[in-house]
């Protein structure tokens, strides 16, 4: 009986306690927000810094975020930037409407750039139109919008950028393609196959670059079309590099190489000429058979294409062919091309030869060099073979005045390998002393001294 009477009373008491607790919570939260608002409005930067820190990390909730974002309208530009960054760090998308409004209303480019950057952090596909529009502005807005589009989250973001790309002005397309490539957005691939043959060179190049990064066998045909449409020079080279990447590095590269070879065989002779450098860059037995046929051709032009292709071979599998060809040719231009190829190939890290075989090839190539600049290049490139034998080989040229400088460079480069240097300390110390006495290059002197002292040396970037 007592229980029956008490039950509703207990319910009322519980409800009152819950209501009181919620009211207290709301009061404390309001208190926290009010304090932050007060701090943000202070003249002293130290107090504003506390307020910004609170915006980043405390006073959670969308309502609080909207209150803080609402302060943007009343702040001076410099303070707006700080507040925008704090709101971005806070990570609450409830700030997006205020940030988007700031992009549209601020008279200050730095403020607009900060707001665009924040849209990138907090936004999703819905922010793409505003960000794409800002790509047409000057820096810093353009750069901020570009970075924002590259990092924009949300499952719809990439799709929205692709849609924007399809309807964008030609001038914006290369930038959007680069952004989508940075995002490694597979959704862009079908559009890229169209843009690879676009009338606008910049769009074409961007599309080919993108396909080089994320393309595969199904896109090789479009890439070939793009290459054939590109005029000789830098643009053609971009296309060649992209095709070589797809056929030698990207996922499914063997299949892509097959597609390329089939397309090459089916292509008219004039197109084959344009595709030969890419063929040489891809390498492989089937490519080599085609190149061999061309080199054996009585037609001088065809032979020339074949030699150009073999001179771009990606590994040392053609080294004996190159040596034979140099021995037989009487044409100085052919000789230069083939010796240049040997100089490049002999010390290649991934050329499938052992270190000893690489050095042997270097020595054979050296015997074929009849110009100082060829010898100098070969000596410098020999430093890629990180062995004591290659060190001893290049050290031998320190005594040849005309080749002393490249030999110095090569010795110092080999000394950079701590393991090699420490295992042969006395020999390296003597050689580095000679470098210090011989070279006119101050950086080599500094490096030699550093290595002698057992220190390392930071390579300059770029």
């Amino acid at each position: 009986m007592v229980r029956v009477i008490l039950r509703p009373v207990l319910r009322i008491v519980t409800a009152l306690l819950v209501a009181a607790s919620l009211a207290t919570a709301a009061c404390a939260a309001d208190d926290a927000v009010a304090m932050v608002v007060d701090l943000i409005g202070r003249d002293d930067a130290a107090f504003r810094a506390i307020g910004l820190e609170r915006i980043r990390t405390a006073a959670k909730g969308e309502a609080a975020t909207r209150t803080f974002a609402g302060l943007l309208a009343t702040q001076a530009p410099e303070r707006q930037i700080a507040l925008v960054r704090a709101l971005a760090d806070r990570g609450d998308s409830a700030a997006l409407p205020a940030l988007a409004a700031l992009v549209g209303t601020s008279q200050d480019a730095s403020v607009r750039a900060a707001a665009l950057a924040a849209l990138g952090v907090l936004g999703s596909g819905a922010e793409v139109p505003a960000l794409v529009k800002a790509l047409a502005a000057a820096d810093p807005e353009k750069g901020a919008a570009r970075r924002a589009l590259a990092i924009l989250r949300g499952s719809d973001a990439a799709g929205q950028i692709v849609a924007a790309l399809e309807s964008a002005q030609p001038g914006l397309r290369p930038v959007l393609i680069d952004i989508l490539t940075e995002r490694r957005a597979r959704a862009i691939v079908p559009a890229l196959t169209t843009f690879a043959a676009d009338a606008d060179p910049a769009t074409r190049q961007a599309a080919l670059r993108a396909l080089g990064a994320i393309g595969g066998a199904p896109q090789v045909g479009a890439m070939i079309a793009g290459l054939l449409k590109s005029p000789a020079g830098a643009e053609r080279q971009t296309a060649e590099q992209a095709i070589v990447a797809v056929c030698t590095k990207n996922t499914g590269h063997a299949e892509a190489a097959k597609v390329f070879l089939a397309a090459f065989r089916a292509a008219p002779e004039s197109d084959q000429e344009a595709l030969l450098p890419a063929l040489g860059g891809i390498g492989g037995q089937e490519s080599l058979a085609i190149v061999d046929d061309l080199i054996a051709s009585p037609d001088a032009a065809k032979r020339g294409f074949g030699l150009k292709a073999i001179s771009r071979w990606p590994d040392a599998s053609v080294s004996q062919r190159l040596l034979d060809l140099v021995g037989k040719t009487k044409e100085p231009t052919e000789r230069d091309l083939l010796v240049g190829a040997l100089i490049r190939i002999a010390p290649l890290r991934d050329n499938k030869l052992s270190d000893g075989q690489k050095l042997e090839l270097v020595k054979k190539t050296m015997a074929l060099c009849d110009k100082e600049d060829e010898r100098a290049r070969l000596i410098e490139r020999t430093s890629a073979i990180r062995t004591i034998d290659s060190f001893r080989y290049v050290s031998g040229f320190l005594d040849t005045p005309a080749l002393a400088e490249p030999a110095c460079k090569s010795v110092v480069e080999l000394a950079h390998d701590r393991q090699l240097r420490d295992a042969n300390k006395d020999e390296f110390t003597k050689a580095l002393d000679r470098v210090i006495g011989l070279t006119k290059n101050q950086e080599l002197v500094d490096r030699a001294n550093a290595y002698k002292a057992g220190k390392t040396w930071e390579r300059k970037k770029g």
């Binding site: 404390a28 926290a32 304090m35 130290a46 107090f47 506390i50 405390a58």
Partner: protein, 247 residues
């Protein structure tokens, strides 16, 4: 195996003649006895008596310091008179406090309080520091009284009250000027902030916020009090966070 007290005769003879340059090897037996005394009440009483005997009269400062270190480990109320006798001695006061700070008996705290009323200058600051280390609530009135005197002593007293972090200590600090000249004002502020942090850590959010708010109110409009205002602002925000976390 029980420790034989008879083995201590020779080491204590050596201790009586001990000085900084002497061989400390004979004292190792006393070290071992101090460890064994934790499980042997009779040995502890014997050892304590012998060590107190070193504190009076002739032995060197080095011998007295050694005795104080051992009494810090095994001392009881029985050691307090001998240690208290050294509190006014500028050479041995700090080592006597070193032992009295760590002897749990209330007599040890009482000795420090008594000495606080009898010594001055650096020795008084030492007593204040030891009483703070003991968190001796009974010394709060004496420390509160010192807030009004010499600025250096008052700063030490304020710091001690801050370390105590009790409501009584806080009440004593409330009457001190947080913007007093010299180091006193800063010490008072630090002490109040320390008290507030203690209250907040103990879950007494409203009281902690009251301390921070009082400092904020006091600092308002004083350009030189910016650090105080910043610290108190952070304190209030910490109270708000704690309130939200508790809900």
């Amino acid at each position: 195996m029980p420790f034989d007290p008879a083995t201590l005769d020779a080491p204590f003879a050596a201790l009586k003649a001990y000085d900084w340059t002497a061989d400390a090897a004979p004292l190792k037996t006393i070290d071992q006895a101090a460890i064994a005394a934790h499980a042997d009440a009779a040995l502890r009483a014997d050892l304590e008596k012998r060590l107190c005997g070193i504190l009076g009269g002739g032995p060197s400062r080095a011998a007295k310091e050694y005795a104080c270190r051992k009494l810090m480990m095994i001392g009881t109320a029985a050691s307090v008179p001998a240690l208290a006798a050294l509190l006014g001695d500028k050479d041995n006061s700090h080592m006597a406090r070193f032992a009295l700070e760590r002897i749990g008996a209330p007599e040890a705290a009482a000795a420090l309080r008594t000495a606080l009323g009898e010594v001055s200058g650096d020795l008084a600051i030492g007593m204040i520091s030891s009483l703070a280390a003991r968190r001796d609530a009974a010394s709060v009135p004496a420390l509160a009284a010192l807030l009004q005197g010499d600025a250096t002593i008052a700063a030490a007293a304020a710091e001690a009250l801050g370390r105590m972090s009790s409501p009584e200590a806080l009440a004593a600090l409330a009457s001190a000027d947080p913007f007093a000249a010299g180091g006193l004002g800063r010490a008072v502020v630090d002490a109040r902030l320390a008290c507030a942090e203690g209250l907040l850590a103990a879950g007494r959010r409203a009281e902690a916020r009251g301390v921070y708010q009082a400092l904020l109110d006091a600092a308002k409009g004083k350009p030189a009090a910016k650090e105080v205002e910043l610290a108190a602002t952070r304190g209030v925000l910490a109270c708000v966070d704690a309130s939200l976390a508790a809900l």
